[in-house]
Amino acid sequence: MISSLDNFSNYLYKNKHILLLIFLLPPLLWLGIIYLGSLVVFLFHSLFYLDGFTGKVVYQISFSTIAELFSSPANIDILIRTVVLALAVSIGAAVIGFPIAFYMAKFTSPKIKIFFYLAIMLPLWSSYLVRVYSWKLILAKEGIINWVLAKLHLTWLLDAILSLPVVGGPSLSISYLGMFLVFTYIWLPFMILPIQASLERVPNSLLNASYDLGATRRQTFYKVVLPLALPGIAAGSIFTFSLTLGDYIIPYIIGTSKFFIGQAVYTHQGTAGNIPLAAAFSLVPIGVMAIYIYFAKKLGAFNAL
């Protein structure tokens, strides 16, 4: 018995790739069957279609569901709405996140830096839902923002902003502007941390060299810091973009009840039983993300992770 075990271990010693296979098989099976397998099965459903008469799924290959997705103006609206918001949120998070990350990376003592890390991570310790619901109260018509502006006699300013076409609405919590604010807040940490990491890697000597060569602060920033931080911004934007693309909870709580991709998927597969259309809808974020990641990779986003 022992000798056969010995033989086995000798065999494995000589054939290292078999050993590797044995160790890697469980996680590979997990990834392959449970993760990718279910995904592929689900996406494959987009090639089936719903029988108009019985409302049951017909298991025959057809492109009619995908055609339906792209031929209905309401569906196109949903796709455009979601992608535009995801882009806006990514840009917003980069604009707000960059100065914070820059300050953290270049101008703080280690102690202050820990404080910043904590302050950025702290919201992630509380429930996502709690944060979204509290934003609903903050943005409400009877909420704190309105109250402060009323005390400052600035209600006219808010009214002017809310009367803007498209982004405005009856109140902050019932407008795209409100959604943008909440999304930006929720995903901000995912933007700050990669930018901060990429800025940490910019050596101070490089900045000094730039000054020595006669560059102004502004020139140094645009010619040296920003290009080197770009991979970090691209990496952060992958998070903010993809997370916004798939979220279906914030649009239910904040905003004008207009649907986003995540909600469309949820509703079509959950309440309507229209799994083919839900699957077709989920193809879009995958496609958009593939294009997005292709360009992010060109900017070197994966070097900053």
């Binding site: 719903l50 409302g55 409400a140 009877e142 009856p170 009840s257 309440t271 309507a272």
Partner: protein, 389 residues
């Protein structure tokens, strides 16, 4: 997928003859009862101490109740199809699907002593009685109501037009942006019901059975409503928040929200306008393969004869299936107790039964028309309406 359904069909052939006849006599309890129910339907005093209608059943029968809550009718059907449950509180849209699928069994009403106390209007209701066979015991019913803020709307509106058309309210301001509507596709039925009253030439006979023309007319009305609606509601507590903090004053809603808002001393009231209202009626049904069938029958008796009917009616803002059990209180969420002296059944609309169009799933094959628009179309088109299309 296909394989599973073939097996299910084969299985139903096997199991149907076995359960062709309902239970003939009651034995002793099996010690357990597994329930699929709506949230808030089975309370054992854990949310609010005064509301407990499960412990008494467990003590009397020795059947321990295990509760699985479901959020939608589709979820309920899926759970029942999976099996392992004894009873379900199915709404009108799920019940017929469960019967057609052979998932629930015919019940013997002779084994339920309190059957005759059930509201006669519910005893043979079409959502649980098929070909004269009973497939369940009525649990609870209720209606949607028109909820309004009394500061903005001084008199109870007599028509749903206040949520479908732009109007100046009694506070001198337009209703635009101050109206809410349910974000589920079933809200299309509310529009159809409105048109049924105001445009008889469309020939709508049942708000859940719409021909394409009737359906398009309903969608047009909802597109007009979209202009008035700031935000749609899908969660009862979020609507309560919106009526408290966002200045909404009118909405089709449930008595549940009205009761909670009134309890929180908000200037809120509700009414059922002349066109009628949509509503729900739930039924306790027994799984075909139930292993605890005696406990299930005991539950159905308990559901009719105990404090369940009166307390649940008050708790949920619904109407008991047993009229003699009407509670005499209104829930006060702050104190968690009844306010004595008010008739909960009256408040929750027991007199409105004939005005209510009970919820059912729209299907292509319908009775009142030649062919109807099925539910999955309702979903797609309602999403488009919400998006302003």
């Amino acid at each position: 997928m296909k394989k599973v359904s073939i097996i299910a069909i084969l299985f139903s052939f096997v199991s149907l003859p076995l359960f062709a006849a309902p239970l003939q006599s009651l034995g002793s309890g099996e010690g357990e009862l597994n329930v699929v129910a709506w949230a808030g339907y089975l309370e054992r005093g854990e949310t609010v101490e005064a509301f407990d209608w499960v412990t008494g059943y467990e003590d009397n029968t020795g059947c321990k109740v295990n509760i699985k809550t479901a959020g939608t009718s589709d979820e309920m059907v899926a759970l029942m199809n999976e099996g392992g449950f004894d009873i379900v509180t199915a709404s009108g849209d799920a019940s017929l699907r469960l019967i057609a699928g052979g998932t629930v069994q015919e019940i013997n009403i002779d084994l339920i002593p309190s059957w005759d106390t059930i509201d006669p209007r519910l005893q043979n209701a079409e959502w649980h009685t098929v070909d004269g066979k009973h497939y369940g015991t009525p649990y609870m019913w209720g209606s949607n109501v028109l909820m309004y803020n009394t500061n903005a709307v001084s008199e109870a509106p007599t028509s749903w037009d206040v949520v479908f058309e732009e109007k100046t309210l009694s506070d001198g301001k337009s209703n635009k942006g101050r109206v809410q509507a349910f974000d589920g596709p079933i809200h299309i039925a509310d529009a159809a019901m409105y048109l049924m009253y105001h445009q008889p030439e469309l020939g709508i006979k049942d708000p859940y059975e719409l021909t394409n023309d009737q359906y398009q007319a309903s969608l047009d009305l909802l597109r007009q409503q979209r202009e008035l609606v700031g935000r749609y509601w899908h969660d009862a507590f979020m609507q309560i928040d919106d009526f408290t903090n966002e200045g909404f004053v009118l909405s089709a809603s449930w008595p549940f929200q009205v009761n909670l808002l009134v309890g929180a001393e908000q200037p809120i009231a509700s009414t059922i306008p002349q066109e009628g209202a949509t509503g729900w009626a739930d039924t306790t049904m027994v799984h075909s393969d139930s292993e605890n069938i005696n406990c299930a029958y005991m539950w159905m008796e308990h559901q009719l004869s105990s404090n369940l009917q009166s307390d649940l009616g008050v708790w949920f803002g619904a109407v008991p299936s047993v009229p003699s059990k009407c509670g005499t209180g209104l829930m006060d969420p702050a104190a968690g107790i009844y306010q004595e002296g008010q008739n909960a059944c009256q408040i929750n609309g027991i007199d409105n039964f004939d005005k209510i169009y009970f919820w059912k799933t729209p299907v292509s094959k319908c009775e009142t028309q030649e062919s109807c628009v099925p539910y999955y179309k309702w979903v797609t088109d309602y999403i488009a309406v919400l998006g302003g299309r």
